[in-house]
């Protein structure tokens, strides 16, 4: 953690992690929507595989 020399650096790291985390959640939500839109047969196949 030698790069994190001040409170500001820690805050910056946290902010960037928050951005990435938030967009990762949004991307997961998109995947969830895709699964909700799949026809039931395809969804069943996907679960079985």
């Amino acid at each position: 953690m030698f790069l994190l020399r001040s409170e500001g650096d820690v805050a910056d790291l946290l902010a960037i992690l928050l951005f990435v985390g938030a967009f990762a959640v949004a991307a997961s939500f998109a995947q969830l929507c895709r699964r909700l839109l799949e026809p039931p047969a395809a969804r069943k196949e996907s679960i079985e595989s």
Binding site: D12, F29, Q31
Partner: protein, 575 residues
């Protein structure tokens, strides 16, 4: 309100309506990749951008790929804007030597401008360098507006296409929207603003001696160019803290009219583009008519309430009538040069759209007017709305309306020849429910936690309205503030960021899913049993669904805030 105020409203409506057809036709050509004057002028630059980025505009994407590209692009934009604010002390074009903005404030601002909200917990002239304003905030105003527009375009393609999985190419849509739609209008508007006296300079602030012998610093900068995209993009983030109430952002009644016109311009034009792309122009006019009815209701209500003035002032014998020497009505928080008419129109337009620019302080409006402004945002940006987001939100309501109509008559619902089935309704309801969930949930949290209560300046229902307005504005990606709320605290910066993020991306993703689902369907021929969706009956039904689904969700919250305050004011209690 004076007759000049009503005349101004009429001129505004006529001017916007006059622009709808030509702009709709032009945007249709742009997104189809057709020939336009600006394509001949800037086509080489578009091709260069594709070559540099390795994008093939001819390769289209599925809705999931489109959403992935959009999310990745917005993530990069958010991180870049955050970095600019944190590093502005070391970057050029900082004549006032502003230091880095605080981390929580930078985070809030980055989310705010990338999500097309423009909630500002800072005063631009005291916090942000010219470089941050130009390369960060203004650039994101362009890109976030383009993001909203291309999502609407993708959804329209979903309706217009048949039996395909692709809904367009995100990268080429973004490039064409920025280069051929936003940029030309902004250049023209910037020149107009400069002509009217809005500054456009990179010089340091001017220190002057006042007539009283004191010293004053006059702040200015590249205001005109930021002003143009601020309004056109329905972003609304001002160069100055006072936003469009500042004489350098909005110097005259003429610029005031131009500004409200710019806010509605693209949103209204998109309805026409929708009609053209689907091959059913009347459908576009039907949507615009529904928007227009809601706009007229809000504008007339706010104008009337503000013109009547404050009954507590009347009880003290204050003359609030409109006459040759005074504007009359409730002039608290309003600019004298705009009066009741200009302020009421601006406030309604800015909350109908997702703009958030203000030329008067909404906190000082009468309680019922404040309630109307909140209700405008709570209806999910369907009254013309944000650029793109207004149209796609309206189309979501149309899907829900047609579904309910289908249930009532026992037929499979169809809209524009596409069967509306469980998939589309699930996605539409997801998109429509995230905004109230974020708004009401976070308002409730702020009302019970100490850091939330610490931010309000007024007791009673007015204090509640300050909190409710902030989260409504954030989740609706509007960005206007009620004032009176000290929002530049870690609590509000973080929770408002969450509301903005959810209100933007958790709506866009299901909208793109609907686009993909619709594009894969066949277009059924119109039969005798098809419900016409371009007539008065459907417009009325659509309005009913918007008010019931969108508005009533918030009615209990409005009762605790502006409605309670109105009745308490009638009994002589003020907050």
């Amino acid at each position: 309100m004076s007759w000049q105020g009503w005349l101004q409203d009429i001129i505004f409506v006529v001017a916007v309506l006059a622009a709808v057809k030509p702009l709709g036709g032009y945007m249709e050509r742009v997104f189809a990749g057709g020939p336009t004057f600006f394509k001949r002028l800037l086509g080489w630059f578009e091709a260069l951008l594709y070559r540099l980025s390795g994008v093939d505009p001819g390769v289209e994407q599925s809705w999931l790929e489109y959403a992935g590209s959009l999310l990745a692009f917005n993530l990069v934009g958010m991180v870049a804007l955050y970095g600019l604010q944190r590093l502005q002390g070391m970057l050029p074009l900082n004549p006032q030597h502003f230091p880095a903005m605080a981390a929580d404030l930078s985070l809030n601002t980055a989310v705010s401008f990338t999500s097309n909200t423009s909630w500002q917990s800072y005063g631009g002239e005291t916090t942000a360098s010219n470089f941050t304003q130009m390369a960060g905030i203004s650039v994101q105003s362009f890109l976030s507006a383009a993001t909203g527009i291309v999502v609407a375009v993708a959804l329209i393609r979903g309706f217009a296409r048949r039996s395909v999985t692709e809904i367009g190419n995100f990268w080429s849509d973004m490039t064409r929207c920025s280069l051929y739609v936003l940029l030309p209008i902004c250049v023209a508007a910037t020149i107009l603003f400069v002509w009217e006296g809005v500054p456009e300079t990179l010089s340091a602030f001017q220190a002057v001696d006042t007539l009283e012998g004191g010293k004053q610093t006059i702040a200015y900068g590249p205001v005109a160019s930021q002003e143009a995209i601020k309004l056109l993009s329905s972003d609304g983030g001002g160069f100055f803290n006072a936003n469009s109430a500042h004489p350098f952002e909005n110097p005259t009644a003429f610029t005031n009219l131009i500004e409200v016109g710019l806010i509605f311009l693209i949103g209204a034009g998109l309805t026409n583009m929708f009609g053209r792309m689907t091959g059913r122009p009347r459908e576009g006019w039907a949507l615009l008519a529904a928007m227009g009815i809601l706009f007229a209701c809000g504008t007339i209500a706010v104008s009337r309430v503000e013109a009547q003035g404050n009954p507590a002032m009347a009880a003290l014998g204050v003359n609030q009538t409109t006459n040759a020497t005074q504007a009359g009505g409730n002039m608290e928080g309003k600019e004298v040069r705009f009066g009741i008419g200009g302020s009421s129109l601006f406030a309604t337009v800015t909350t109908d759209s997702s703009s958030g620019a203000v030329d008067a302080m909404h906190d000082s409006f009468m309680p019922l007017s404040g309630g109307v402004l909140m209700a405008n945002m709570m209806l999910d940006e369907v009254i013309v709305g944000g650029v793109g987001s207004g149209l796609f939100s309206m189309l979501l309501f149309a899907i829900v309306a047609i579904f309910i109509a289908g249930l009532m008559v026992g037929r499979t619902p169809e809209y524009l020849g596409k069967k509306i089935e469980a998939d589309e309704v699930k996605m539409a309801m997801l998109a429509l429910l995230f905004v109230p969930a974020a708004t009401l949930g976070l308002t409730a949290v702020a009302c019970v936690l100490a850091p939330g209560i610490a931010g309000i300046s007024n007791a009673g229902p007015h204090g509640f309205s300050e909190i409710l307005y902030a989260y409504t504005s954030a989740a609706a990606t509007n960005g206007s503030a009620f004032a009176g709320l000290d929002a530049n605290t870690p609590f509000y910066n973080l929770t408002l960021s969450l509301a903005m993020f959810v209100g933007r991306y958790f709506v866009i993703v299901p909208v793109l899913a609907v686009a993909g689902s619709l594009a894969a369907k066949r277009i059924a021929p119109t039969s005798r049993g098809t419900l016409p969706t371009d007539g008065l009956l459907f417009i009325g039904f659509l309005l009913g669904v918007i008010v019931l689904v969108g508005g009533l969700t918030f009615f209990p919250a409005l009762s605790l805030g502006p409605i309670a305050e109105h009745f308490l004011m009638q009994s002589g209690r003020l907050y």
